[in-house]
Amino acid sequence: MGSAVVAPTRTEPEWILPSRGRVGMFSLIAAESAIFTIFVVAYLFYIGKSLSGPMPKDVLEIPIFNTICLLSSSLTIHLAVGALRNARVNTFGLWWFVTMVLGTIFLVGTGREWHHLIFDKGLTISTNLFGTTYYSLVGLHAFHVTVGLICIVLTMIFALFRKVEPAHSERLDVFSLYWHFVDGVWIIVFTVVYVIGR
């Protein structure tokens, strides 16, 4: 019945709509960005307002190595997905593995930084405003990295069992949007915490 609406002699124009996965992921990123924005605002608002306890410049060391690892992982994941799209499954597996390693290094590095801050410098989430906002913001980001890393590990396992095919490249491309988002957030967190806040 619907076809009666269209005049019979017209050729139907191509009907192309954006991909669901991408739009869904961008929507999720929008929502997550709003959450991060609030934590960043709280961090910026409370800079210099702690009544006592360690101050950022006393205890924070700039995590250059961690940052390089995390940001490089954006490049490696991009290479991985590109390789898969071109049916180079082994290359995909290699770059995916490197991504996984880089992400893990970042998390371990963050863990070590926190261990140092808590046990050597006496800064916990309840110490002062700096402690509260620092652990919340960096922690929220690390949580997002963890979730991403879990997905990466799962995919790695599938890849080892040779279950990942070029047809999956679109899905992994959508996932890589999430990973790029996580890296993008780190740039902001890094700037706010280690550059502005110190």
Binding site: S3, A34, T37, I38, A42, F45, K49, L129, T132, S136
Partner: protein, 557 residues
């Protein structure tokens, strides 16, 4: 006439066992069933929230009343607000959107059906979690129980020091979980609308309901997330010793207010925009004309979406911001009234020159127009910062926002119920009962909420469990409470009508209203697959084109 079905109607026959049908509903990912589940959940909480309102009103019917203790009153006040906003309004509007959007854009389901189901169940469980607080919230000295910090939960009242026990935590966690559900639903709305429209339905040709749900979805991302962030911060304060809102450690109580209202104000636009959508679908059909100024309606909605993100501190005019901040939020608040007013004028323009049929859905929509006009104007009054210094925190504000939510959103919702009930159930409701519902509720609404403005002007603050006699507040509080009884009766008639008509109503057919959007082209209720073939459209009113092949819309749009 498009009553020629393009769907294969279900063959009535073998009755499946009830356990199988129940299981079907529990595991469903069909947007229509999920939509109905959302709506049923909302109706349940409407009754619960309504009872809480009645308790509040009975306590306030005379000064120094002893119907409930102050503790119980404060819990009722908190739970009434929280329930109505999160578990009635958001839930029912998501329900209608979930049901209608795929049908109206010619799709078979939402973009992410399993996410859809997940979001619904998150919402349902978070409602249960909130209400579990009545039995699970006890802490020291029995000070716990349901949350009693108000639905806006200002810091530092929510700190462990002032909010002993777990009642506040139930509030916080329930809203975090419900927020996850809401964000999931909005991801679905936005993706569905952008990615699953049927061929020919460009963004400029989709029904206004789809446009408005798209804007609403975007706003949920930007609005719900700040609340989630603030709730997480509150949890960190309460359980990990954080100091986000700990004034003793240098934290700021006003920061919570900012975060809450950055959520809270766009939230009310999230609620009203789907109500606008209902108006934009119902008023044209019952005026027998297309919506007046479709592009302007879209532009106005998008404009409202953006401007509403900049007005939040009009809830904070009294916290002592400087005069520049107060002026800024005054102008943005007044500015958002402009696109909103434009929409009212466009609905008026739709009715103008038409042939209006006053069936029950239209009655509710016409009442909406009058009432939303008044609500918008009292909003302008509240937006004038100095006037706000007198009116805020008083019953004037309570009257204003109930005027918007009940007089606006709930009336539009009732209209939507009656309009789409035939499509969802396949049966027609009883028009007589519909009209009884309308008049009872209208009288009750005006008795309550017109009168409620006066105590505010006479200096009665809100959120008080009792008040002093001799200040001129007694008579008005009495009238307000009596009006609530009328409203409750109207809602009762409504529920009776729904239930009776579901089983005994006349079969409605595909298109009882002679309407023009795609949902009316399929059977009532639609089959699981919605349409036998995906429709191809050429204008904003595909069924008008079918019914008027000599005068189709696409010649003029």
């Amino acid at each position: 006439m498009a009553s020629e079905t393009i769907a294969i109607t279900a063959v009535p026959g073998i009755d499946r066992p009830i356990s199988e049908r129940l299981h079907d509903w529990i595991v469903t990912v069909d947007h229509k069933k999920l939509g109905i589940l959302y709506i049923v959940l909302a109706l349940f909480f409407l009754v619960v929230g309504g009872i809480e309102a009645l308790i509040i009103r009975i306590q306030l019917i005379v000064p120094h009343n002893n119907f409930v203790s102050p503790q119980v009153f404060n819990r009722m006040m908190t739970m009434h607000g929280t329930t109505m906003i999160f578990f009635v309004a958001m839930t029912v509007l998501f329900g209608f959107g979930t049901y209608l959007v795929p049908l109206m854009i010619g799709a078979r389901d939402m973009a992410f059906p399993r996410l859809n189901a997940f979001s619904f169940w998150m919402t349902a469980f978070s409602g249960l979690l909130l209400y579990f607080s009545f039995i699970g919230g006890n802490g020291l000295y029995g000070a716990g129980n349901a949350p009693d910090v108000g639905w806006w939960a200002y810091a530092p009242l929510t700190a462990r020091a002032f909010s002993v026990g777990h009642s506040t935590d139930f509030w916080t966690l329930a809203l975090i979980v419900s927020g996850i559900g809401s964000i999931g639903t909005s991801v679905n709305f936005v993706t569905t609308i952008l990615c699953m429209r049927c061929p020919g339905m460009t963004l400029g040709k989709m029904p206004l309901l789809a446009w408005l749900n798209l804007v609403m979805g975007g706003m949920v991302f930007l609005a719900m997330s700040p609340l989630t962030a603030a709730q997480v911060m509150l949890c960190i304060d309460r359980y990990l010793g954080g100091h986000f809102f700990d004034t003793q450690a240098g934290g700021s109580a006003v920061l919570w207010m900012h975060f809450f209202w950055i959520f809270g104000h766009p939230e009310v636009y999230v609620l009203i925009i789907p109500a606008f959508a209902f108006l934009s679908e119902i008023v044209p059909v019952f005026s027998r004309k297309p919506i007046f100024g479709y592009p302007v309606m879209v532009a106005a909605t998008v404009c409202i979406g953006f401007v509403s993100l900049s007005v939040w501190a009009h809830h904070m005019f009294t916290v002592g911001m400087n005069s520049y901040a107060n002026s800024f939020f005054t102008i943005t608040t007044m500015a958002v009234g402009v696109p909103t007013g434009i929409k009212i004028f466009n609905w008026l323009g739709t009715m103008w020159g038409g042939k209006i049929e006053f069936r029950t859905p239209m009655l509710f929509c016409v009442a909406f127009l009058f009432q939303f006009l008044i609500a918008g104007l009292t909003g302008i009054m509240l937006g004038a910062s100095p006037f706000n210094w007198q009116l805020s925190g008083s019953y004037f504000v309570v009257a204003h926002f109930h005027y918007v939510i009940v007089g606006g959103i709930l009336f539009a919702l009732f209209g939507a119920f009656y309009y789409w009930f035939p499509k969802m159930s396949g049966r027609m409701y009883k028009e007589v009962l519909g009209k009884w519902h309308f008049w009872l509720f209208l009288i009750g609404f005006h008795m309550t909420f017109d009168s409620m403005h006066i105590p505010g002007i006479l200096g009665m603050p809100r959120r008080i469990y009792t008040y002093e006699p001799g200040r001129g507040w007694e008579t008005w509080n009495l009238i307000v409470t009596i009006g609530a009884v009328f409203q409750a009766t109207g809602v009762l008639v409504f529920v009776v009508n729904l239930l009776w008509s579901m089983f005994k109503g006349e079969p409605a057919g595909n298109d009882p209203w002679d309407a023009w959007t795609l949902e009316w082209s399929t059977s009532s209720p639609p089959p699981e697959y919605n349409f036998a073939t995906i429709p191809v459209v050429r204008s904003r009113r595909p069924l008008w084109d079918l019914k008027h092949p000599d005068d189709p819309d696409w010649k003029y749009e």
